[in-house]
């Protein structure tokens, strides 16, 4: 996809192109070769232990009885193999409901974000109304305001929306609508639209297509890849969110996993609780494994998301 072109060198330059710090001559020297192999092996081992280790421990402990985990937390092999903790977490601890809430919150936030970013990006990039530069600047400016500044005033806005006096506390709208105000999405999508060929818009206009047709039949179908990128990041970001849903969703029946898990920890048996943690991380990890290339080759994107 588009993002993959990043970092690739122009084709046509001969063999030495893919060299790094260590030259081919260095690689041929035995001492250097073995040292490098050793360092790389050690790094791989380190990453396995540190990156994957905690997750494997979590997976193991969610099928191990609490007693075993407490007594011998580092036992390599689970004593028994008991999937019942997942079942208990799912039914008795109501992880099913919280997972559904999380999915529902992520889904709504995704829709709002995509609608705002595509329509806004289209207006600012293609239709270009009179003040489009100023508006783009205002959207960009919000990227430079730390999110903490918004916390309290945004909360008061959601408690009592100005002018219409609409109270959104304990409603998914309180998470869905603010999610749309993501300057990052608008900027990424607008930049993509900026690079679409202008001729096609002109051609469509000459053929009599209005702004709606231009958007629906040309711009959107051409932007599927970037919409995919923004979608994956939007879903993961919503899944990770904690502070905001904790503030605005007070009703336990509406709370997502991230809000519910810390409340459950003191009253839940360790094996069941860790099973719940495992369930909570499955979807983000699955999304990562499926769309690895987006995460690992689009550093401009992943690096620019602000906390």
């Amino acid at each position: 996809m588009i993002l993959l072109s990043l970092g690739r060198r122009a084709p046509g330059t001969p063999t030495q192109v893919d060299r790094g710090i260590v030259s081919a001559a260095d690689w041929r020297r035995r001492r250097i070769r073995w040292t490098l192999r050793f360092i790389q092996g050690a790094t791989l081992l380190f990453l396995l232990v540190v990156g994957l280790g905690p997750l494997l421990w979590m997976a193991k402990s969610s099928i191990t009885p609490t007693q075993d985990t407490l007594r011998m937390p580092m036992a390599l092999w689970p004593h028994g193999f008991d999937l019942s903790y997942f079942a208990t977490a799912w039914t008795r601890t109501h992880i099913d409901r919280y997972l559904l809430n999380t999915v529902w919150i992520a889904f709504g936030s995704w829709i709002v974000q995509i609608v705002v970013a595509t329509t806004g990006g289209y207006a600012l990039s293609v239709l270009r109304p009179r003040f489009h530069r100023l508006l783009t600047g205002l959207v960009l400016a919000t990227l430079f305001v730390p999110s903490i500044v918004l916390l309290v005033p945004l909360y008061l806005t959601v408690v009592d929306m100005p002018l219409v006096h609409f109270r959104m506390i304990d409603s998914f709208w309180a998470v869905w609508l603010p999610a749309g105000a993501s300057a990052f999405n608008v900027v990424v999508i607008k930049r993509f639209f900026d690079n679409l060929p202008r001729e096609i818009f002109e051609a469509a206009r000459v053929d009599g297509a209005g702004p709606f047709q231009l958007f629906w039949r040309i711009v959107l179908p051409m932007s599927r890849p970037i919409i995919g990128v923004v979608s994956v990041f939007a879903v993961i970001a919503t899944w990770k969110d904690y502070l905001w849903p904790m503030l605005v969703l007070r009703n336990p029946n509406l709370q997502p996993l991230s809000v519910r898990l810390p409340i459950l920890q003191p009253t839940t048996q360790l094996d069941i609780f860790i099973a719940a943690l495992t369930i909570s991380s499955l979807i983000p990890i699955a999304l990562f494994l499926l769309f690895q290339r987006l995460f690992l080759h689009g550093p401009g994107l992943s690096g620019a998301i602000k906390g």
Partner: protein, 322 residues
């Protein structure tokens, strides 16, 4: 950083495909440049950004000089909120804790991704495996990581980390239970959770180092160390400067980790500025001190903005482009 690069050919193919496969219906009503159609497309952005971004940002500044509660109309109080925050004994504690956290996170967390990325980029095989492993902790939801690490940090002799320390004859450590070790413990988890993202940025930066520079360095007889020191790191300095300031800005705004690990304790040893803002606004038995919370957030934002400006001004001559 150029996400749109290389898209021309894609768009062109798509264009050809569209032209070949579609007939456009003839609609003669033309919509002018600033017509209703344009407004309709702008509307979602204007409403959502207006209500949930621009308005709250302005309101934060207004609230910082007002007495606000949920019952009566706000009243103007001048700099009273700032004065009250300033007089709060927790204020200086929160600042020094946040600074301490940022410093520790810098010492522990800043070099690790650089070292990892340099080693990983030299791998001839399995680069994908390396980076997937490094990035994995980043996709685990922060709440799950914190709650899991709370189990790891168990202070008993049978805690996960204490068991591991026991293998080499050390420990047991009190980890989160002790005012001295609580903050370093949080830093370890936060580094684990964030390092992978930085590694990926560095890997891309390493790819853009022109290979001719290494060739030239070898002609001059440079060793591998010298190449890293005199070619790689100087070539990456633009990225390194940016990630440094980004990391500082991020650590100054840390909430989930101290909130869920320790709630600011033991005593006040992990009460950060963000925790204090949260406490003012949402954990006050007398009702939310929204004015004080707004004043403190404005102060934090102003400090970060000033710090960033000074930082870029100081490093302007060393940095490449950014």
């Amino acid at each position: 950083m150029e996400a749109g690069h290389g898209m021309g050919s894609y768009a062109y193919r798509e264009l050809m495909h569209r032209i070949a496969s579609r007939r456009w219906p003839r609609v003669h009503a033309r919509v002018s440049r600033d017509g209703l159609g344009t407004l309709a497309f702008l509307l979602p952005l204007l409403v959502i950004f207006g209500v949930f971004s621009w308005f709250p940002i302005i309101r934060a500044f207004v609230m910082s000089i007002q007495e606000t509660n949920l019952v009566s109309d706000p009243t103007f109080v001048g700099l009273d909120n700032f004065a009250r925050v300033w007089a709060d004994p927790l204020f200086s504690t929160a600042i020094s804790n946040t600074a301490y956290f940022a410093l520790l996170a810098l010492i522990v967390g800043y070099p690790i991704p650089i070292v990892l990325a340099v080693i990983m980029s030299e791998a001839r095989r399995g680069k994908g495996l390396f980076s997937a492993l490094a990035y994995l902790p980043v996709v685990v939801p922060p709440v799950v990581s914190v709650l899991l690490w709370r189990v790891f940090f168990d202070a008993g002799p049978n805690g996960v980390f204490n068991t591991m320390l026991g293998w080499v004859g050390l420990g047991p450590l009190p980890w989160l239970q002790n005012a001295t070790s609580a903050m370093p413990s949080i830093v370890i988890e936060a580094t684990w959770a964030a390092a992978g993202g930085t590694v990926i940025i560095y890997l891309a930066a390493l790819l853009s180092v022109p290979p001719e520079l290494y060739d030239a360095a070898e002609v001059d007889g440079a060793s591998i160390w010298q190449k890293i020191w005199h070619v790689t790191l100087p070539q990456m300095r633009g990225v390194l400067f940016v990630t440094l300031i980004l990391q500082l800005i991020a650590t100054a705004q840390l909430f989930t980790e101290p909130f869920l690990f320790t709630g600011g304790g033991p005593a006040t040893s992990t009460t950060t500025v963000l925790l204090l803002i949260y406490r003012y606004a949402f954990q006050n038995s007398l009702g939310g001190e929204y004015g004080m919370a707004a004043a403190l957030s404005v102060m934090l934002a102003a400090f970060l903005a000033a710090f960033t400006a000074v930082y870029f001004w100081l490093t302007r001559s060393w940095s490449t482009s950014s």
